[in-house]
Symmetry: C2
Subunit: 342 residues, 2 copies
C-alpha cells in the first residue's frame, strides 16, 4: 500500500566563494512515493550531520572526488527510523544510519544502511564517535600517527568532533597532549573535561611567529601533530617538531572558506621535514571503513564504561541546516554538531 | 720519525646571509706534525667534495644539527692517499675516503676512514655514486619512495649529484621519469644520456601557476616526487599528485641562499595530501649509512657493467673551493661536482 508524502529537502544550488549560507541553498518539497522495491526501506530522518568536509566538496577544485553537484540534495550522514520495510533484515521501528543527505525522508536499499543498537549507545553516536569522526580520529592517530607512551601530541581543532576524540585517544595511549582551540572556554573544557595537558587559545597570537616563539620558550615540541585546521597553527608547529615526528593531515578548516580555490600563502616549511626526518600523511575516513571492527573492539568498552566523553552538541531545526553548517567555522560549542530535525 | 708539514686549510669565518663566497672564508696555513698515535694515519688529500648541504649548515637556524661552527676548517668529505701509517689495517699508498674537510693533509684515526679499491671503481666515486649522494638517491627512492613499475617519478634537481642517480634508479625500477632542470642543455642530457622520459626546463616558466597549467595540460601526475630543490617546482607539483603519492624531501636547494633563516612564502598545499592521501618524508643520507651493503649489492654490478652513468664533474683548484661551493647553485655542468686539489 503506497502513498505520496511531502518530503522537504535542502537543495545545494550555488557554489560559495567564502562563507556558506542560506543563499547557496533552496528548500524544496518533493512528492515521495512510499512504494518500495524488493529490499528497500522508507526512512523517517531524525538527525542530520553537518561536517567541515562538506565545505571542501563545495570548492570548485577536485578534492578526493568531483565537487558536490549543484541542484541536488546536500549530501550528509543521517540517523533515522524505519517506517516501512520491504526487507527481511530490517523492521519497522529499527534505528539506522545512512547517507541520505539533508531531507526528511528517504527510500533506500537495505545495503546502504547500518542498523543501530539503541540500547548499546545513543543513536546519534553513529554520526560521531562510532561513525565517521570517530573513525578518522582513531585510525588517523593510531594507524598514521603511531603514538608511543610519552610522545607529545599536538592537536589542532581540539574541541571539535574529531579533535576532542583525538585528545582522549592520545591520553589513553599514554601521550602528553597539547590542544589548540579558538577560545578560552574551549581551552578550559579541554583541560578540565578531556584532561589535555596543555591547551592553547591560538587566537591569543596575532601571527604564527609569536605562537612559534611561545612554543619555543615553553620548549614544547611535537612527536605527533594531528592537524584539523592548518594555517597559523601549522606554521608555528613545523619549526617545533621532534625527530621523526608524524604529521597527520585530517583537515585544513582554516582554508575551507575560499582558500582551496584561491590558494593562500604561508611560510615554507619542507626543510623541517628534512631536519627531523619527519613525515606528513593525509588521511580520509573512507580508507578505514573496512577496519571499523578494530576500532569498535577497543573504543566501545571505553564508551560503555564512561571512560570517553563524547559531547554531542544537539541543535534543532531542519530550517536552519545551512546556518548550522556555517556555524562549524565560528561556533562556541564543542564536540560533534548534530542537527535534530524532528 | 716525525716532521712538520705546511697544511693549507680553508677556515669558515663568517656566516653568509645570501650567496656564499670567498668573503666567508680565509685560507690559513697550519703547521701539522706528522707524528702519529697508535692506529693513526696521515692522509694526503687529492679530492674534496662540495655539496649543497654545506649551505644548510651555514644557516643560523639549527638543522639536523647545530650550525657549522665559525673559525674552524670547512667540513667536507674527501678522498686521499695514505702517506704515513701507524695502523696494521692501512698501508702507505692506500686510497681512502674520510671526512677531513677542506685541507691538504689530515691526521686521522683508522676508524674514521674507509679504504677504497681503486681497481674496482674510480676513487672519486666514494664522493658520488658509492658515497653520500648515491646513498641518498638509492634509499630515498627505494626505501622512502617505494617505486613500482609504471609509476611516474618527478625529480627536481635532476641533473645534480643526487638527481642524476635518482633518474637512473627510477628507470631501472621500471618507472616513467619526469625530470626538472634549469637549462635546455641539462634537459637534453637528461633525455639523451639518462633516458628520462620527459625533461622540463623549469626556467621556461615565470611562476608556479604556469608550470602547474603546463603539467595539467600534459596530464602528467606524480606517484613519486623526489625533491632536491623545493620552491616553484614543488608549488606546481603538489596539485598534480596521484592517489597515495610519496614525496621525498632530500633537499630544498632553492631555499639555501638565505631563506632558511628569512623564511619565504609559498602557496599552501596540505589539502592535496588529504585529497590524495599522499605522504611526505624527509630523508638524510646518514640514516642509511649502516645499510650501504644493500645498495652496493645492487648498484656496484650496474656500475661495473656500465649500466649507470655517473658523471663526475672534476674541477681543479684548492684555491677556488669557496667558489666551487657557490657554483653548485648556478653551474652549467651536471653530475657530482668534485674538486681535485693536487
Amino acid at each position: 500500500m503506497s502513498e505520496i508524502i511531502k518530503n522537504q529537502q535542502w537543495i545545494y544550488t550555488k557554489r560559495p566563494t567564502a562563507e556558506v549560507s542560506n543563499e547557496h541553498y533552496k528548500c524544496a518539497t518533493q512528492n515521495l512515493s512510499t512504494e518500495l522495491a524488493h529490499n528497500e526501506v522508507l526512512l523517517e530522518i531524525h538527525y542530520v550531520s553537518v561536517d567541515p568536509y562538506m565545505r571542501i566538496q563545495q570548492a570548485q577544485q577536485q578534492s578526493w572526488e568531483a565537487p558536490h553537484p549543484l541542484n541536488s540534495v546536500q549530501q550528509a550522514g543521517t540517523v533515522g527510523k524505519v517506517i516501512k520495510s520491504n526487507s527481511d533484515d530490517i523492521s519497522v521501528g529499527d534505528w539506522v544510519s545512512a547517507y541520505t543527505g539533508w531531507q526528511q525522508y528517504a527510500v533506500v536499499h537495505h545495503s546502504e544502511i547500518n542498523k543501530l543498537d539503541a540500547q548499546q549507545a545513543d543513536v546519534t553516536s553513529a554520526l560521531g564517535i562510532l561513525g565517521m569522526p570517530g573513525r578518522t580520529a582513531w585510525f588517523g592517530l593510531m594507524d598514521a600517527g603511531k603514538p608511543k607512551p610519552g610522545d607529545t601530541v599536538f592537536v589542532s581543532g581540539a574541541s571539535g568532533a574529531v579533535g576532542s576524540l583525538v585528545v582522549q585517544f592520545a591520553k589513553k595511549a599514554g601521550c602528553k597532549v597539547v590542544a589548540f582551540a579558538s577560545s578560552d572556554e574551549k581551552c578550559q573544557w579541554l583541560i578540565n573535561a578531556l584532561k589535555a595537558d596543555v591547551a592553547i587559545n591560538y587566537r591569543d597570537f596575532s601571527d604564527y611567529q609569536s605562537l612559534n616563539r611561545y612554543l619555543q620558550k615553553q620548549n614544547v615540541k611535537a612527536d605527533i601533530y594531528f592537524d584539523n585546521v592548518g594555517g597559523l597553527i601549522t606554521d608555528a608547529t613545523m619549526p617545533n617538531l621532534n625527530l621523526r615526528a608524524r604529521i597527520i593531515i585530517c583537515g585544513q578548516m582554516s582554508q575551507y572558506n575560499g582558500q582551496l580555490d584561491e590558494v593562500s600563502q604561508g611560510p615554507r616549511f619542507l626543510q623541517h621535514m628534512l631536519y627531523q626526518r619527519a613525515t606528513i600523511q593525509g588521511i580520509l575516513a573512507r580508507d578505514y571503513t573496512h577496519r571499523m571492527d578494530e576500532m569498535i573492539t577497543v573504543v566501545a568498552p571505553w564508551l560503555q564504561a564512561g571512560e570517553i566523553i563524547y559531547d554531542h552538541s544537539i541543535v534543532e531545526g531542519f530550517d536552519l541546516l545551512p546556518e548550522h553548517l556555517a556555524s562549524l567555522f565560528t561556533r562556541k560549542s564543542h564536540g560533534k554538531l548534530v542537527v535534530k530535525i524532528r
